[in-house]
């Protein structure tokens, strides 16, 4: 197999596996901030107990994120060194900024978050939780800046000197706020919030069903369902913004989202379908409004949308995989809005904890945001093909010249084996932690030395 395919496969595998964890940390961080804020305000030992439990899960998730994350920073250089030479001036800056502003903040305060219970005052522990969560968000900011620049390059110029061609920053802030940064950042963060929230909802539903740790579970469920609902609505809004941006800046990708081939014609949207790539058409169920895609993009159902035939065949992304992942992502997004809205309403009516089928559905729903995250990235990244930097550098031109297929095959096999092992151990340990559940907080064990009696400070 050729080295381009293998290197892409390796990058896809390592980034997909890595991306299981950061959204969980970001979302769980938000849940922890809320739980600790409740604890700080009410001094309710239940809130502390619940926060402590989720802190332990956070520690496990975070360790996996760190272990798999360092691979990503190395891989740009190991497998994509020609790309690195071309973009380093632009792309390196957000990576370095991520290290300075995000990783140090996260890892420093993580120590207090995990090991600071009973060692520092509750207010300082809360501060540490806020800082770790902020750090995780900053990390998302900088890496999305870097990735968005690959999607919609801006603030740079191309310089040719000494036989080499590369992109250099001319306007740092134009590079940071390139046309897709804000939409894609908010869209990604909405997904991350839902990922963390649904982990808490799922586990809490499981506890209620099993009549274990019920108080902690109800508290966790309340907090997480509200976060999930807010985030799912934000996901819809930012998703629409992202799609508009794609229509404007990456028309080939938008055309692939909907399998729209006609060079310039009003375009429909599909609920689901199958792309006949040879016949250049889609067979499937359309949204019953004619010209829906035109309507969403231009606010006018009769206006034309640029289709795939406007691009030479070598400039088109693979259509089927982009179409399918995009549609599945949208479907899962809708499901998540419905589920969190239903959950909040049932909670409001005080019926949720008696409805066992709903609770069981919630247990399984933990997979939905994870799947949507992965599918969203597949549509974003495969949809950018054949470019590694949209319009500037082709993916096949970004490879390391000195790394051959044999080397990549060996590393790819090793990554697959090691990541499978890690996944098995991670799931086993997460399952074990969940089955163990929250520990009750002993009276007198409080950080400030005060003893809690009936929720009051004695």
């Amino acid at each position: 197999m050729d080295v381009a395919f293998l290197a892409r496969l390796q990058f896809a595998l390592t980034i997909a596996f890595h991306y299981v964890f950061p959204p969980m940390s970001i979302g769980l961080g938000v849940v922890l901030v809320v739980l600790e804020a409740i604890w700080l305000k009410t001094r309710d030992p239940l809130a502390e107990q619940t926060a402590r439990f989720w802190t332990k899960v956070f520690g496990l998730v975070f360790a996996m994120g760190v272990a798999t994350g360092i691979v990503m920073e190395f891989e740009f250089g190991t497998n994509w060194s020609t790309y690195s030479r071309f973009v380093g001036d632009v792309f390196g800056s957000p990576l370095a900024a991520e290290g300075i502003f995000a990783f140090f903040l996260e890892s420093g305060f993580l120590a207090l978050l995990l090991f600071g219970w009973g060692r520092v005052r509750p207010a300082l522990h809360f501060l540490a939780t806020v800082m770790v969560t902020l750090g995780a968000h900053f990390s998302a900011v900088w890496i999305i800046v870097a990735n968005s620049w690959q999607q919609t390059p801006a603030g740079h110029h191309i310089v040719e000197a000494g036989g080499r061609v590369r992109a250099e920053i001319v306007d740092f802030w134009a590079m940071v706020f390139n046309p897709s940064t804000v939409d894609r950042l908010t869209h990604t963060l909405s997904g991350a919030w839902q990922t963390g929230a649904w982990l808490v909802i799922s586990v809490s539903a499981f506890y209620v069903l099993r009549k274990r740790h019920e108080q902690a579970a109800r508290l966790g469920m309340r907090v997480a369902l509200v976060i999930a609902l807010i985030a799912s609505l934000a996901q819809l809004a930012t998703g629409h913004g992202s799609a508009d941006g794609v229509a404007e800046h990456q028309p080939a990708k938008l055309a692939a989202f909907e399998g729209h081939y006609a060079e310039s014609a009003p375009a429909d949207m599909y609920v689901l379908g199958w792309v006949d790539e040879a016949g250049e058409r889609v067979v499937g169920l359309r949204v019953p409004v004619a010209g829906m895609l035109s309507l969403l993009v231009h606010g006018d159902a009769t206006k034309p949308v640029t289709g795939l035939r406007a691009f030479a065949p070598q400039d088109r992304p693979p259509v089927q995989i982009v179409f399918q992942s995009y549609h599945l992502m949208v479907a899962l997004g809708m499901l998540l809005i419905g589920a969190s809205a239903a959950g909040v309403v049932l909670l409001w009516r005080e019926r949720l904890f008696r409805m066992r089928p709903v609770l069981w559905a919630f247990v399984l729903m933990v997979a939905a945001p994870q799947a949507a995250n992965q599918l969203g990235w597949i549509s974003a990244e495969v949809g950018r093909q054949p470019w590694i930097v949209y319009g500037l550098l082709r993916t096949t031109d970004g490879l390391s010249r000195v790394v051959d297929a044999r080397q990549v095959t060996v590393s790819l096999v090793l990554f697959t084996v090691v990541y499978l092992l890690l996944m098995v151990v991670f799931v086993y340990l997460l399952d074990k932690k969940i089955k163990h559940g929250p520990d009750s907080v002993e009276a007198g064990e409080h950080a400030d030395g005060s003893v809690m009696v009936g929720g009051q400070r004695a």
Binding site: A67, E73, F74, L95, L105
Partner: protein, 341 residues
Amino acid sequence: MSASMLATIWYAIVGVLLTGYAILDGFDLGVGALHLLTRKDEHRRLMINAIGPVWDGNEVWLVTGGGALFAAFPEAYATAFSGFYGAFILLLFALIFRAVSIEFRSKEPSRAWRTAWDVGFAVGSIVAALLIGVAVGNIAWGIPLDDRHEHVGTLIGLLHPYALLVGVTTVALFMMHGSIYVVMKTDGELQEIARGWVRNTMIFFILCYVLTTMATLLYVPHMAARLRAHPVLFVLPVLNVLAIANIPREIHLKRELRAFLSSCAAMAVLVALFGLNMFPNLILSNPVTANSLTIHNAASSARTLSTMLYVAVGGMPFVIGYTSIIYWVFRGKVRLDATSY
């Protein structure tokens, strides 16, 4: 500021980040390398928990150093990472196994489980230290680069005796540094054992250090060129030897923090010596020295370097601030409690 001035400043910043990495991750890699030397589960837990709150932050120095290299000297980043492909992939697996071993080990009481992750932690730490040293040795020795700055050698070519010697020396240095850290963070039985480790690893390190110094002077004379040209810089090796000599003295007087700081100082001086003699080269090309990557032909544009300088100058005080807070909060001897690994 001139482009050359900016590139020089960035050379220093990358140097500072990598020094921070060597000093900080150096002790937790060292603790990992020593991990299997004690068989008692309690000792192993104490050692892991001694680095528990800080190892992750220590590793961030490597990540940020790598990011800074990418941003400031993309040509050097690209050449090193693709040229050392096999070595870097191996380093990644070593770092992955060490990270998850720390997290996973205490989650099951079973002996086989714990032994497996103990081995993962120890082997990962030793391999990581060795590979970092081998990389340093190769950069000092020089690697074959073509006129596009691509590495044209093989993986086996990177494992020549000098590079391996620097690799082993790095393992010895980190083990010495780690054993001093264990003495500082523990008491009782484990501390007594660790005192023995300090003695043995110091002997190990000094033997390696003498050999590496001899080999460098004999076979890699360009790595002493700046000191030959500026004899006043000989104060650095003197400081280095004094710092190392101070370690057993402070250990004997039971002033562990001072012993640890001496070890930190010795490492900082070693990196400074390396950086001074390499300057202005980032990666030496051997045998065609004209193809070397220097701070001039590998750097990003002056505009990017100056923008990033604001980022670094704005960010690093915060980094140093909260790193200090964390080390302050977790000062003193390590104790096992409910939140421990």
